[in-house]
């Protein structure tokens, strides 16, 4: 059976009868016969049409009817697909996914069986590599002139495209394959990662802000400054907390910290320079956290801060 026969007949007749059958509706029975012709891919069909017209021109034709050229292109495309389909079926019948030369020769035998080829009657006796169909193809390639295609098909360069679409993997060296430096676990259709410089400041020089402000993480190491203490104010000693010493790489507080002031209420708490209204906020109810350096060493046991209640001493403002 010639695989081209029924399909090409339907395609060619349907294409010329497109206007007549355009108004036909599908039967309600749900028949699988499609009355409307399927339009082939525009790009691939256009390229095939150029190649077919080039071959016809080399044969000797000067002009062609448009419908004849399109029909001829359809037939050639069907020939291509029939060859590939037949080769794939032969390879699948042999428990293989990749087709080889023997599958292709058997496919040529199938496609050329209608027209015939030399040694077709001895096809089953001869070796496949000595097939007459293959010999004919070799003769044609040796005798015919080389006709490159009129226009080269532009191959998309993945380096220019920001989000390249991965083509069908035909496992050929002529295909455009983009190396995946990110690793095989990341799909190629995902966009690239943003550059590190956009979200990382590891190599950047820390710039000071207008008012000399610095980020807390980028502060310079502080020293114990006991002379600047006023009264009971004490600056947190960053290097000695709970009797422990911090590593050099850790964050350290500034040398001199500004005085923190809150709303001054009637009751002041002279502790640590914080004038906090003890009846509001987190110190409500008399329970407060007081940082008294002299007592801290006693209070801190195993690094745990003990919260205790303390009476508020009324002081005059």
């Amino acid at each position: 059976m010639n695989p081209l026969q029924n399909q090409s007949t339907r395609k060619s007749t349907l294409k010329s009868n497109l206007k007549v059958k355009a108004k036909k509706k599908k039967k309600n029975r749900g028949d699988s016969d499609v009355q409307v012709a399927e339009a082939p891919s525009d790009l691939s069909f256009g390229v095939a049409r150029v190649a077919i017209s080039k071959i016809c021109q080399s044969t000797g034709f000067k002009r062609t009817q448009l419908c004849a050229l399109e029909t001829f292109t359809n037939v050639a495309v069907k020939y291509l697909e029939a060859t590939g389909k037949s080769a794939a079926s032969f390879s699948n019948a042999s428990n293989r996914t990749d087709s080889n030369l023997f599958d292709l020769i058997n496919a040529f035998h199938d496609v050329c069986s209608v027209q015939g080829f030399p040694t077709a009657s001895e096809m089953h006796k001869r070796e496949l590599l000595r097939s007459g169909a293959l010999r004919e193809i070799m003769k044609f390639a040796n005798l015919s002139k080389e006709l490159p295609c009129a226009k080269a098909i532009p191959c998309p360069s993945f380096s220019q495209c920001p989000n390249p679409v991965q083509p069908i993997n035909t496992n050929t060296s002529t295909g455009c394959h983009r190396p995946n430096p990110r690793g095989s676990h990341i799909p190629r259709w995902l966009p690239d990662f943003p550059p590190e410089s956009s979200y990382k400041d590891c190599d950047k020089v820390i710039k000071e802000r207008k008012n000399g402000e610095k980020l807390w993480e980028q502060s310079i190491p502080v020293e114990i400054c006991g002379d600047s203490i006023e009264g009971n104010r004490k600056v947190l000693q960053t290097n000695e907390v709970c009797g422990k010493k911090l590593n050099d790489g850790r964050m350290e507080l500034a040398k001199e910290r500004g005085k923190l002031k809150f709303n001054i209420g009637r009751q002041k708490e002279q502790a640590f320079g914080l004038e906090v209204n003890m009846n509001s906020g987190f110190c409500r109810g008399g329970k407060r956290v007081c940082w008294n350096h002299s007592e801290m060493n006693d209070m801190f046991e195993d690094g745990a801060m003990i919260v205790r209640e303390k009476k508020v001493v009324d002081t005059n403002i």
Partner: protein
């Protein structure tokens, strides 16, 4: 006994010719581009890592198209040969080698492809039919 070494030598020659042909396929540029062939082969399920086999399919398709075009050309020339010759028409005949549906259908018929060209277009499927058959 005497045939075996000769047949083996013949096989070696055939294999050498085939290997040379497959190697020469990389230098031969078929008219049908490799990308197009790969597209249609992949569409039909053909999978092969060897580029030479893709080129072989392209050459086979080119051979098929060339043979059909050659047959159509012969039909076209034969049709023009039946027309009475005139001096004025001779100059025009060389320019009138046109690929028509008629010649193409005759050429494809030998390859088992039936192509039928519609003579005219009708506004409805039942146009031109007899009233008796239309009622049925």
């Amino acid at each position: 006994m005497n045939h075996n070494p000769q047949s083996s030598e013949g096989r070696h020659d055939d294999d050498a010719a085939l290997s040379e042909f497959l190697a020469s396929l990389m230098d031969f540029t078929p008219t049908i581009p490799d990308e197009l062939v790969e597209h249609y082969l992949a569409k039909s399920g053909f999978q092969c890592p060897d580029v030479r086999l893709t080129r072989l399919v392209a050459v086979a398709t080119q051979k098929f198209v060339a043979e059909v075009a050659n047959d159509a050309l012969q039909h076209c020339k034969a049709r023009q040969a039946t027309i009475p010759k005139d001096k004025k028409d001779k100059q025009q005949k060389d320019k009138r080698l046109t690929l028509t549906m008629e010649d193409l259908s005759k050429a494809l018929r030998e390859y088992g492809v039936n192509v039928r060209h519609q003579e005219y277009f009708a506004d409805s499927p039942s146009a031109g039919m007899d009233p008796a058959t239309r009622d049925e």
